[in-house]
């Protein structure tokens, strides 16, 4: 079976996230005050083959933990759906 994984990777709370900080600074120069706490992350999609959804989730956890994030500074969550053949 084929599954599509949509992974969102973000910096952990408390770690300086520079792009979000830059966006806030840019808005402040325009005197726009209603928006705050921008955090920029990554959105990565991938396909994975497996026997069932449980196994697909285990494989998604593996690739996120081992490749897609640095666990010192990042965390992840994902949505998973079966790809109709």
């Amino acid at each position: 079976m084929n599954f599509k994984v949509k992974a969102y990777i973000t910096y952990k709370d408390g770690i300086l996230e520079p792009q979000g900080k830059a966006i806030e600074h840019s808005l402040s120069l325009l005197d726009i005050k209603e928006y705050s706490k921008f955090r920029v992350g990554k959105y990565i999609t991938l396909n994975v083959t497996s026997n069932d959804e449980k196994e697909a989730r285990e494989k998604a956890d593996y690739i996120c933990n081992e490749f897609l994030i640095n666990p010192n500074i990042e965390t992840f969550e994902y949505k998973i759906e079966q790809v109709k053949e």
Partner: protein, 236 residues
């Protein structure tokens, strides 16, 4: 002593490093390709008498995270075994990022707090000279070296920092010309002004500054970087 300079796609300081150890210090030097699955016998037969350099650059274009894709290169497995056998490894700039991503050094290199690429000479204080990399420096010696990076801010959690201090793993602090370590002398926001660290056994060093760029008297007389490579050549 055999030196190996690892080349990843996007590495660009490899030839500078090769020049210092091969042409200036006249050591047997090899280029090592990241995609190989074995090290030459000069490294596996005698790991304690050989050194591997992970040079600076932009391996894999810094894609995903600096050093992350390079840390999964086939040769990294052999480099880890080499370190385990007592071989010496120095990671410079992107090389430091790769070692951190590979888990061979603690901590992570993240974006400079200034959000800018910084290219300038800085002062470093030598904190620990009890290593094959720093034996030719004096403790608390203030040395001069260039940095050139955007993601060079060293981050580690409090417990990790405490372990670095307890084990004597901090190699260099950013400081000013008088050796004062302060926020003002910190170019990139690194925790505790850390510019370089050792692993626990002190046979692996990662540092953001470029010693290979101050190792030959070309336009200036001060060549503080050469002492690091001379330390490696002479320390048993």
């Amino acid at each position: 002593m055999a030196f190996g300079v690892v080349q990843f796609p996007g590495t660009n300081c490899d030839h500078d490093c090769f020049h210092v150890v091969h042409d200036v210090l006249e050591q047997e030097t090899f280029f090592l390709w990241h995609g190989d699955h074995a090290l030459p016998s000069e490294f596996t037969n005698n790991p304690e008498k050989s050194v591997i350099i992970l040079p600076g650059g932009f391996s894999y274009g810094d894609y995903l995270r600096c050093g992350s894709l390079a840390s999964h290169s086939p040769l990294i497995k052999n480099i880890k075994e080499f370190a385990g056998s007592g071989g010496r490894i120095i990671g410079i700039c992107n090389g430091f990022q790769i070692l951190a991503e590979a888990g061979m050094l603690p901590g992570t290199l993240i974006m400079n707090t200034t959000l800018r690429f910084i290219c300038k000479n800085v002062y470093l204080k030598v904190i620990n000279n009890d290593s094959p990399f720093t034996s030719k420096y004096q403790i608390n010696e203030v040395i001069n070296m260039p940095i050139a990076h955007k993601e060079g801010s060293f981050y580690i959690e409090d417990e990790g920092l405490e372990r670095l201090r307890e084990n004597g793993q901090i190699a260099f602090h950013y400081c000013n010309v008088n050796g004062e370590v302060s926020p003002e002398s910190n170019p990139n926001g690194s925790v505790d002004n850390i510019a370089g660290i050792f692993n626990k056994d002190k046979n692996v060093l990662g540092m953001m500054p470029h010693p290979e760029r101050l190792s030959e008297k070309l336009f200036i007389d001060r060549i503080d970087g050469i002492l690091l490579f001379k330390s490696l050549v002479t320390t048993k």
